[in-house]
Amino acid sequence: MGNKKQTNTPQGAVIKNILRYIKPYWLTVLATILFAAITVGLTLYVPILIGQAVDCIIGPGQVDFTGILRVMQIIALAVLLTSVFQWLMNRCNNHIAYHVVRDIRDKAFSKLTILPLSYLDQRQTGEVVSRIVADVDQFSEGLLMGFTQLFTGIATILGTLGFMVSLHGGITLVVVLITPVSLLVASYIARKTYSMFKLQSEARGEITSLIDEMVGNQKVVQAFSYEKKAEARFDVINDRLSRYSLRAIFFSSITNPATRFVNGLVYAGVGITGALIAANGGITVGVLSSFLSYANQYTKPFNEISGVVTELQNALACFARVFELIEQPAEVPDAPNAKVLSKADGSVDLEHVYFSYTPGQRLIEDLNLSVKPGQRVAIVGPTGCGKSTLINLLMRFYDVDQGEIRVNGIPIKKMTRESLRNNYGMVLQETWLRSGTIRENIAYGYPNATEEQVIEAAKAVHAHSFIRRLPQGYDTIVSEDGGNLSQGQKQLLCIARVMLSLPPMLILDEATSSIDTRTEQRVQQAFAKMMEGRTSFIVAHRLSTIQEADVILVMKDGNIIEQGTHQQLLEKKGFYHQLYQSQFAH
């Protein structure tokens, strides 16, 4: 799952989609092509002009100054125009590239907010992030920059050919015959080095994963005095990596000198044939000098194009990955006539609910439950019994496969997700805080809260005292993933966040697992107050926290195996009794 899967979208569809993103900028695209054509044409024309000027300079006493002046004026004009159009071309290019990137990112992120959780839960965060960030970047660089290079490259080749033929066919033939050698050499080397690069990147992957393990878990490494052995393993891979690297780097770096050598050959070829023809008066020295600058220019785009093609392929692959994300089917939208549940009375019914994450692996089967308004429902059971799944279904993060869940007697599929979720206050075991100030985090669900309300919520969960001790109090910035707060403190903030909005139903999934028991006890009082008159679902490991629940559901393997109050369940001497004994007795 974690590795970048190759997507199997056909290339045609990918390209069609790319065009869709470029379409809004079609005028700019046209302008770019036009400017590029003009730039290339003028750039190629200048050597001819310089040649003409050279022809005006023949020898002592034989210099046509009016001629030179005239040509120089044309050169000046051509150069000026080239510069202007080149600048315009670059500007247009940037405009398209950065705007297309922005559009794709906006679209991809918007998609994230409506993707079903089943998609996101199955993927690693890093992978999705890299699609939106790195892949889009690669795409813009590769495709849009590559495209201009490809276009100007081809235009340069064709233009040069045209100009050369117009000057002298024979010399052109020499250029055309020698140039492909450079291509052959380059592709030969590229093929040879490919396998070496593969070896290098394999070794690199190996060393990265070793570093990842050993440095990432260094505390354990040191606790077991494993450092020396880790170093020995590292050295073996490091040696292999440097052997492969040397070969890969050296062989790939031959490309440059080799193609430059071929360029030199072209130059010499043009020089010799041109000079021989010029000696017989076939062409002027000016024409020869134009040819010489063409000889330098002509081979360059060939070398570039081979690089551009790989870049384009890479860009397509990157886009395909982003595209796959954007094209994912979104969550089933709310039904068109979906009701808005304004304020739930708190009755929740589950009828013949079936659910599983992966087809074929049964999890929840024929689950029935009827919760009256204001009841406290506790859910207990061993890890993996389906407690969190139940919450996923209640909040409609996942849809049931079969059966129905009703709130206020209305099937939740027939109400808007927004109104359903607005009626639940949720505190999860995983404490998630947004980067921003403490105040912003507490007021996340209720941005219009006054300062007093925020402080009151913090006081209710006994977070006020620690917040006040922070350097900037309520304005302290919570860093990414809340790194500057302890797990317990983060959990208190999450509870305060729900305290402030206080919806009619509550879901507490191991909401106090990271809080020490003494603080927890105090928070419990706040919880108790909060739960008054509210339907609450409480998942907890610690049985002490749920004894006062109106009904306790004991879950095992996706089924409710026991149900009743604490006292009833203890008397039953069933699974709950067992759990309880292991926790409290010895």
């Binding site: 050279v54 300079i57 020898g59 030179i68 050169i75 000046a76 150069v79 080149q86 600048w87 670059n90 500007r91 940037n94 992120f109 907010t113 996101l120 939106i132 960030v133 060393i207 570093i211 440095v215 878990n217 260094q218 505390k219 606790a223 077991f224 005095s225 880790a230 590292f234 490091n238 040397l246 780097i249 050296f250 440059n256 000198p257 030199g264 050959l265 130059y267 010499a268 010799i272 000079a275 021989l276 000696a279 020295v285 061993p382 993060f397 979720r421 607005n422 949720m426 947004r434 996340y444 993933d481 999450c494 990271s514 028991t517 603080t519 002490s544 759990l579 292991s582 926790q583 409290f584």
Partner: protein
């Protein structure tokens, strides 16, 4: 940064020969326009075909020599760069391994990993580029100018004016854009952060129905980035047109003054062509140089980041002369004497005035609220951190007098986070003690309550564990880490809240099994559950870094209000 240069020491020869051959190649390249000029002035003007062939031959020869020189140069440069980075990576890994918990806390594992991987790679390509190209471009620029002077001092004035102007433009634009690119990079980081945050918090975002607001945040960050990118783009789009303009202006000057000089007989037609060629060469080289500087700037930044790791010295090292192991092991295995401890960079002490003594074979329970200092306390025993004041004694000797290896062999630690490594179950268990026999491994697994799960796997002990133990559940991982510590047969076993993922029944069975080794092993159990520690011979109750109670369960229930409160919340029925 300079400190890193020492890694080139073993490649002195290569570091000198690489650039040298590159310069040789460049010099031969500089001769090309001159040869061409001769061809025009003598060969064409005199109609001497033999001379033309002769000069053409020289052109090819120059090409061949250039090829040989540059391939040689590439080889030496690659060898030096790769050797450099291999040595650097090796030392960096060793250095990082030597950093104590304190430095790891400050630096953070993820930056250490990027510095070891992508930063070192960047530096490697930087070194390679510098060796190959850094001398070449300025050399060609200077060389072309000198050549121009030998042809015609007057026409060469164009070079004297154009080169500084060109350099000014190229480097001016770079100076403007590099900080802007850095700004764009940090804005991209922001975009990344918003995306990551929304993925990790997707349930909360949706529960509070804040999708639209999160979108706005993202759009704003995205727009900021685009804005900066467009702005830098505007500036760097100027580079090519301006340099093109300047070079051609210089060529115009060459043509004009070259025309006059030729008219006066001071120059030839071929010489004018050569001057024009030199000017074009300079343009190409300056652009290359600019690209090079961008890469080198990146490499330098990476170099500084790597150097910063080297500059972080471990504050915790083995003493030069480790204390000799006492012949008669004292009865008292661990003792804390008025210990104060503070984490690096914090003002307040995490532990203050802790004093207690533990006899060999005793089981010690440590309980207290979140952040009360439980983990900090046990981390002092294997000397993962140093005390700020007071002493920690193991077998009657201050832990700072032991060699770290020897001390840590006495201690088996099961950390809070159950970390396993890529490899088989067997390999992971052998971390504890390399020479453990198969029955010993099985015995450890049995005690750690991991037997049933190993038995359920067809490969048994050779079951492969994926990186990070992804293919195991939290409870299975935890049981294996406990087994790993047991394999060590340590004198002191520390369980740092390491049964949290186990259900209560398994936890109870584990405690029962640990009781079997009571007497030979001293066990420290850190827990939030009173039930896990109530049978310990000695219970330490921590409250805000202070020892709030010390004694058996019964004693504490009578005398320690903090302990009473904890038990009341957990054990009352």
């Amino acid at each position: 940064m300079k400190g890193l240069l020492k890694y080139l020491n073993n490649y002195k020869k290569e570091s000198v020969l690489g650039p040298l051959f590159k310069l040789l190649e460049a010099s031969f390249e500089l001769f090309v326009p001159l040869v061409m000029a001769k061809m025009i002035d003598i060969g064409i003007a005199g109609g001497d075909t033999g001379y033309i062939w002769w000069m053409g031959g020289i052109l090819v020869l120059l090409g061949v020599i250039g090829l040989v020189c540059s391939i040689t140069a590439q080889y030496f440069a690659a060898k030096a760069a790769v050797g450099f980075s291999a040595a650097l990576r090796r030392d960096l890994f060793r250095h990082i391994q030597s950093l104590s918990y304190s430095e790891q806390d400050t630096l953070g594992a993820s930056t250490l990993i990027t510095r070891m991987t992508s930063d070192v790679n960047q530096i490697q390509s930087g070194v390679n580029l510098v060796l190959r190209l850094f001398l070449r471009s300025p050399f060609i620029v200077a060389g072309a100018m000198i050549m121009a002077f030998t042809i015609s001092p007057q026409a060469a004035l164009a070079f004297v004016v154009a080169i500084p102007l060109l350099s000014l433009v190229v480097f001016g634009i770079m100076k403007l854009t590099i900080p802007l690119y850095q700004k764009a990079q940090s804005q991209l980081d922001h975009v990344t952060k918003v995306t990551r945050e929304n993925l990790t918090g997707v349930r909360v975002v949706r529960a509070f129905h804040k999708e639209e607001r999160e979108k706005e945040t993202f759009f704003a960050a995205n727009r900021e980035l685009t804005h900066t990118q467009l702005f830098v783009g505007k500036i760097s789009a100027l580079l090519n047109p301006i340099t093109y303009l300047l070079v051609n202006a210089a060529i115009l000057w060459i043509l004009w003054s070259g025309g006059w000089e030729t008219y006066n007989g001071a120059l030839t037609q071929g010489a004018v062509v050569a001057l024009v060629n030199y000017m074009s060469q300079i343009l190409v080289e300056l652009i290359k140089l600019a690209n090079l500087i961008v890469s080198v700037t990146k490499a330098l930044a990476c170099g500084r980041r790597v150097q910063a790791v080297f500059d972080t010295k471990s504050t915790l090292t083995s003493p030069e002369n480790a204390a000799p192991q006492p012949e008669q092991l004292p009865r008292e295995i661990v003792a804390f004497e008025d210990v104060f401890f503070a984490y690096r960079g914090t003002q307040a002490d995490s532990l203050s005035g802790i004093t207690f003594r533990v006899s060999r074979g005793e089981t010690v329970g440590i309980i207290g609220g979140t952040g009360s200092g439980k983990s900090s306390l046990v981390n002092l025993i294997p000397r993962f951190y140093d005390v700020r004041a007071g002493r920690v004694l193991v077998d009657g000797i201050d832990v700072r007098e032991y060699s770290l290896d020897e001390l840590r062999t006495k201690v088996g630690v099961v950390p809070q986070k159950a970390v396993l490594f890529q490899g088989t179950v067997r390999e992971n268990l052998l971390w504890g003690n390399e020479s453990a026999t198969e029955p010993e491994l099985l015995e450890a697994l049995r005690r750690a309550q991991a037997m049933d799960f190993i038995n359920s796997r067809p490969e048994g002990l050779d079951t492969v564990i994926q990186q990070g133990g992804r293919n195991l559940s939290g409870g299975q991982r935890q049981r294996l880490t406990i087994a790993r510590a047991l394999v060590r047969r340590p004198e002191i076993l520390i369980l740092d809240d390491s049964s949290s993922a186990l259900d209560y029944a398994t936890d109870a069975a584990l405690r029962q099994a640990l009781r079997e080794i009571e007497g030979e092993t001293t066990v420290f159990i850190v827990s939030q559950r009173a039930s896990s520690i109530r049978h310990a011979g000695q219970i330490l109750v921590l409250d805000d870094g202070v020892l709030a109670g010390l004694g058996t369960h019964e004693q504490l229930l009578e005398s320690c209000p903090v302990y009473q409160e904890i038990c009341k919340s957990q054990l009352t029925k």
